[in-house]
């Protein structure tokens, strides 16, 4: 059933009794052309584009828990394409372009909201680094503006300009950046894929990957064995675990990242602002909560919860950036498991095993990537070769020495 003002009114008259389910609750078939492990943003988007762009509809998405229970359901929803390395920026810009048409495309209001992403700088070297990044964006035809302190003040007069330990010297602004209603992205892709025949199967955990003669033949799950010709891994924080089922060892560590939301407030801050002298970034959801976060806790973890030191670290930075926050209250905090890669950039590639494809290493930046990741992964699976946008995201780049390291932190996942 198409969502529209009319369908909404029609159903209102019938007391909303006749809404069709957004997706079926199918039992797994005995085999599929393609199985995607992971009913998160990337897995669902991959299935959606496999069906929509490549006409491959005999597809199942296997999700071990409820739909969108992973990072797609717990991230701070920032979208942007302000990367500086050639391997990255065209990919993320394509993602932003897909976001811009997404809701009409999958007929679901995901509240894509381009209210701007502003990164603050507090030192000259930081500003120089922003200039380098902004110019890289311009080279790729992406919007970026370098702001001085006054321009930042005009946008957000309530930041700490007068009493700061690290005075704000300016910032880099991408107006097309913004936020998206994260859950709705999972729901929209799931519904769109389901409408095109994809089986989205919840509470279906993959426990083993079966290969014969170096080729994938299917997966063992708590709902039994399911055969497939091609298998795509999109398990984010659990990538290592799932890849290990196929005997693969990845350049990835799992870390917990916490996020927070404040009590609902009347409009407080319009766009996304990122502090440059500590770990803190914030935006305000359409429900009124200030959604914010900072850095990963730092220790390897599969627990979706963190500890107090990082909470303090983040909130200290928050009040340092916006003194008025002192009397705002934090409502809830949670965590998600990041697939932190060794250079801070993702992997979308074929693997040494025939028919097995890998999508991983998103760190804390994979939400914005969701559309392009699905798009490119679908292409890589359908064509058995990378799309040019994900050509740099090869698995062997580490062995060969072609890392894509935006931050220059090297092989220390917890520093990216």
């Amino acid at each position: 059933m198409k969502y529209s003002v009319f369908s909404l009114l029609k159903n209102t008259l019938s007391g909303h009794k006749n809404w069709a389910p957004a997706w079926r609750d199918p039992q797994p078939k005995k085999d599929y052309d393609v199985i995607i492990i992971g009913g998160g943003g990337h897995g669902l988007a991959t299935a959606y584009y496999l069906a929509k762009v490549h006409g491959i509809t005999n597809v199942a998405v296997l999700e071990k828990s409820w739909l969108g229970s992973g990072n797609i359901g717990r991230n701070t929803t920032i979208i942007r394409s302000n990367y500086q390395l050639p391997g990255n920026n065209p990919f993320y810009e394509w993602s932003l372009k897909l976001w811009e048409g997404l809701e009409q495309d999958f007929n679901f209001n995901a509240m894509v909201s381009q209210r701007g992403v502003l990164n603050l700088c507090h030192t000259d070297p930081q500003r120089d680094a922003f200039a380098r990044r902004g110019n890289a964006m311009h080279l790729d035809g992406v919007d970026a503006e370098l702001l001085d302190a006054q321009a930042v003040r005009d946008m957000y007069p309530f930041l700490d300009f007068d009493n700061a330990r690290f005075p704000i010297k300016g910032g880099i602004l991408q107006r097309r950046g913004g936020t998206v209603r994260h859950d709705a992205v999972a729901w929209g892709y799931a519904r769109g894929a389901d409408l095109r025949g994809v089986d989205v199967i919840q509470n279906c955990e993959v426990t083993a990957i079966k290969t014969t003669g170096g080729k994938v033949v299917g997966v063992q799950t708590n709902k039994g064995f399911i055969g497939c010709k091609k298998l795509g891994l999109a398990a984010a924080g659990n990538s290592s675990e799932v890849a290990a089922m196929a005997g693969l060892k990845l350049p990835i560590e799992s870390h917990v990242l916490q996020a927070f939301v404040s009590e609902g407030l009347k409009p407080y801050i319009d766009g996304v602002v990122t502090f440059g002298a500590g770990h803190f970034y914030v935006s305000q959801s359409d429900k009124g909560g200030l959604v914010f976060g900072g850095d990963i806790d730092g220790y390897n973890s599969y627990a979706r919860r963190g500890n107090l030191p990082m909470v303090e670290h983040v909130i200290e930075a928050g009040v340092a950036m916006i003194p008025g926050l002192a009397r705002v209250r934090v409502l809830r905090s949670w965590g998600g498991i990041m697939d932190m890669s060794m250079d801070g950039s993702p992997i979308i590639d074929k693997t040494s095993i025939d028919g097995l494809y890998l999508n991983a290493g998103w760190c804390y930046g994979g939400f914005k990537a969701t559309p392009a990741s699905g798009w490119c992964f679908a292409h890589t699976i359908a064509k058995n070769e990378p799309h040019k946008l994900n050509a740099a995201y090869r698995l062997d780049r580490f062995r060969r020495g072609y890392m894509i390291d935006e931050k220059g932190q090297g092989a220390s996942p917890n520093l990216h």
């Binding site: 350049p251 799992s254 730092g298 220790y299 973890s301 917890n414």
Partner: protein
Amino acid sequence: MLINCPHCGTRPVEEFTFNGDASVQRPVSTDMDAWFDYVYLRDNPKGRFDEYVQHSSGCRAWLVVTRDTQTHEVFGVVTARDYAKTRVKA
């Protein structure tokens, strides 16, 4: 999270910094594959895990903390020194 530093006693996690998997060992050979494994590949286990931790705001000793990555339960702590020695023997 609390870590029992062999030198300082029990301290909360804010006094420590983490440096990943302690089970990987710096190769003595010049075999590229061994080196690639050491620098880049991780088992990243869900469960019991040996991890390098420095008591950076305390005695500055590097420790190896054995911890469950799912529950964060700490099973044991030894100094990186002793860990290295016992590993050489093993």
